[in-house]
């Protein structure tokens, strides 16, 4: 009975957290899906999103959610810049080159961030209230974050399937050479895709900052979760990443009801390896 009560209390919380995990993973998997690049700068970009919220709330004194749209735009532009400077020249090189290029960006952001912001924890002291349903406490910040995630997921779906640039992205992801033959400017589309992936990472960071204290290194954990989610949701399938995020969030809610919380990463990453062995393209990925 105690376990059941714990499950009731922790599961909704885990699911709400899973939305934001999914949003972060969507960015990683979108970039992989379109250009086969693993963005190792994903974590620091999430951390920059966190600091942006801190700046909006603590320095400008504004509601942290007012910063989401400007942070998204800045994330988009920053991603396009990273693509132009670090990724474009190695886009056709072996995977190791793009991996090293994004790793270099990762190290540059962490180095500059550490020098400017240190690695001390920062805290966005913002409470959006809570909703008490029996033994379950739903935090306002997590409910809002889940709602914002749904908005961005819907927006991404609409963009990819209903707009011309979105269709171009899908065409380039499907077959870049054929897309170029059809007159699609693939370089611009790749830069846009990288920008979108970065935008999603920055927005997820902006939302996570309202839950937990953070520093410039905090994005690393969410980057690792994004890999697990990418595998759960299907590599290269951004909408599947949302479901992957929800599954991971649920696991984080369920496991502590039965085991010590320190078992959570063990089971998460065990699952990661198991799925890679059984379905290398991910749980919801297409079979080869």
């Amino acid at each position: 009975m105690q376990q059941f009560n714990l499950l009731l209390a922790s599961l909704p919380d885990g699911i709400l957290l899973g939305f934001v995990y999914g949003l972060a993973a969507m960015g990683l998997t979108l970039i992989w899906g379109v250009m086969n690049v693993i963005n190792l700068a994903h974590g620091p970009i999430i951390a920059l999103g966190m600091f942006s919220t801190f700046f909006v709330y603590s320095k400008l004194g504004l509601n942290p959610y007012l910063g989401v749209v400007p942070i998204a735009l800045l994330g988009l532009l920053f991603g396009i810049l990273i693509y132009a400077v670090a990724v474009h020249r190695v886009i056709n090189a072996p995977h190791l080159s793009s991996l090293l290029a994004t790793f270099s960006v990762n190290m540059i952001i962490i180095g500059l961030g550490t020098a400017a912001l240190t690695t001390s924890p920062y805290n966005v002291d913002f409470f959006a209230g809570s909703l008490q349903l029996g033994s379950t406490t739903l935090l306002g910040t997590r409910l809002i974050a889940a709602f914002v995630t749904l908005l961005f997921t819907g927006g991404l779906y609409f963009f990819l399937y209903r707009t011309r640039p979105g269709k171009h992205i899908r065409a380039v992801a499907n077959n870049r050479a054929a897309a170029e033959l059809m007159g699609i400017p693939s370089t611009r589309i790749l830069a846009l895709s990288f920008g979108l992936g970065t935008m999603l990472a920055a927005v997820s960071g902006a939302l996570i900052a309202t839950f937990f204290p953070f520093n410039i290194l905090s994005g690393g954990g969410y980057e690792l979760k994004s890999f697990v989610i990418g595998v759960l949701g299907g590599l290269g399938n951004p909408i599947g990443a949302l479901f992957g995020g929800l599954i991971l969030g649920m696991l984080e809610g369920i496991i502590p009801a039965f085991l010590e919380t320190s078992w959570v990463p063990v089971i998460e990453f065990g699952l990661f390896v198991a799925i890679l062995l059984v379905r290398p393209n991910g749980l919801f990925g297409a079979k080869k």
């Binding site: 105690q2 009560n5 714990l6 209390a9 922790s10 919380d13 885990g14 957290l17 550490t114 240190t118 690695t119 001390s120 924890p121 805290n123 002291d125 409470f127 809570s130 033994s135 406490t137 935090l139 839950f211 937990f212 204290p213 520093n215 290194l217 905090s218 954990g221 984080e252 809610g253 496991i255 502590p256 009801a257 010590e260 919380t261 320190s262 959570v264 990463p265």
Partner: protein
């Protein structure tokens, strides 16, 4: 061609000679021949966590040590009876809160930088890594920010612990709870690391011996950010008191989420995090959270206390230390800063007592040390099975409360004879 080659070779040979002549440290300074004192510069080697998980507390520890070094050098150093004037210089690196890096760097400090004495990095985990290197090389290491007991129970002879050992960390909190609420139901939730685990190893049997019911015992990973499931477990267990935590990053996150989720606990004591001056950045979530503290300015130790105990008083008063620290850093000192200062002060006292910087003589002086400072008593266990363990120092319990101006301040609430305020019990519900 041959002429050009010989010109080139001659140029490089001359350049090498010039560079060799200019190289620092390549020529020893000539001894002072005018009859005045000989100056000896002692190299203090240590690493600090300028980055990573231990950054906050580590920087404060180093600030304290830097203050001591500035003061002792500015005062003209330590004068030995043979006319030697001992001054100090620091050799330090950023360990990035990383154990592997700590071992590399302490090896470098000993073998390349020729450090005479070592100070530990901050945290028990990093110190355990550094202590192996210090012990292998027979270098004296004074440890601060390293409360875990085990490192001193493995036959080491070069480590000297400043902090009250981890196994005794929360015992005074239990004594206080016994007077406040003997029927409290206790949840122990702690970081899974060396220090916090050693605290719990001492805490749990003591709680049970005092008749408290431990309704939950749970560890969490050091990088945990979501404490929601743990807090649900605490609430479900029916606990009224929470004892635990770990270090600053996890402790501050834990405290914030306990407040957000209205965990309804009557008393919360977390390790390390609430002792830091950054903790009130949590706002209302900081109110009522308490911690075991190695030192608090408001309950600083005094020469009168030392005299009453028949101990030798040594060093500045707590207020003098706090004023100097404030002037140096612009910040109020925490116990981590005081700990850093004390590592230097203890070494100074040992060198004075040994009248030498010879490591064996300084080691013997440290073993014989039994003094009282603004930080409290300092005495090391000399038994082979616990050599270097701190046995002279006691802790206080501090709690964040609001003062008359409505500001969050850390008040000492136990022991009663040094308390500056009554315990806030139960903590007001959010």
């Amino acid at each position: 061609m041959n002429r050009k080659l010989s010109i080139l070779v001659t140029f490089f040979a001359l350049a090498s000679l010039v560079l060799a002549a200019c190289a620092p440290g390549s020529v020893e300074a000539p001894p002072v021949a005018d009859g005045s004192d000989t100056e000896k510069t002692v190299v203090i080697g240590f690493t600090s966590s300028l980055t990573g998980a231990q950054e906050v507390s580590s920087k404060r520890q180093v600030n304290g040590l830097t203050l001591w070094m500035n003061q002792v050098n500015a005062a003209g150093g330590i004068h030995l009876s043979d006319g030697t004037v001992v001054k100090f210089t620091a050799q330090t690196y950023d360990d990035e809160s990383n154990k592997e890096r700590v071992q590399e760097l302490y090896t470098r400090l000993i073998t390349e930088d020729n450090a005479d004495f070592l100070i530990s990095p901050y945290s028990s985990g990093l110190t355990a890594a550094a202590s192996i290197i210090a012990e292998q090389n027979g270098k004296i290491m004074i440890t601060a920010g390293a409360a875990e007991d085990d490192a001193y129970k493995t036959g080491n002879t070069s480590l000297f612990q400043l902090y009250t050992p981890g196994s005794q960390y929360l015992l005074s909190t239990v004594d206080m709870l016994k007077t406040l609420d003997p029927s409290a139901r206790v949840a122990i939730v702690h970081e899974n690391d060396k220090f916090s685990t050693s605290v719990v190893e001492g805490l749990k049997p003591y709680l049970e011996s005092q008749g408290f019911e431990v309704v939950l015992e749970e560890g969490y990973a050091s990088d945990t950010t979501d404490f929601g499931p743990v807090i649900n477990k605490i609430v479900e267990s029916g606990a009224t008191v929470l004892l635990g935590g770990g270090h600053y990053p996890d402790g501050s996150t834990f405290a914030r989420q306990l407040y957000e989720r209205k965990a309804g606990l009557k008393f919360i004591s977390l390790l390390v995090a609430p002792a830091d001056s950054k903790f009130p950045e949590l706002g209302e979530a900081a109110l009522g959270v308490s911690t075991s503290s190695q030192w608090e300015l408001s309950a600083t130790h005094t020469p009168e206390e030392a005299a009453a105990l028949g101990k030798e008083w040594y060093g500045p008063s707590g207020q003098e230390f706090a004023d100097a620290y404030l002037a140096l850093t612009g910040d109020k000192p925490t116990y981590h800063a005081a700990g850093g200062y004390l590592t230097g002060l203890i070494l100074q006292k040992a060198i004075e007592a040994a009248d030498s910087v010879d490591p064996d003589k300084v080691r013997a002086a440290l073993e014989a040390l039994d003094i009282f400072t603004f930080y409290g008593g300092i005495k090391f266990d000399t038994r082979a099975e616990a050599h270097g363990l701190q046995i002279g120092h006691e802790m206080v319990v501090a709690q964040w409360q609001r003062n008359d101006a409505g500001e969050l301040v850390r008040q000492v609430i136990w022991p009663a004879n040094v308390a500056t305020a009554a315990p806030l019990y139960p903590i007001p519900m959010p």
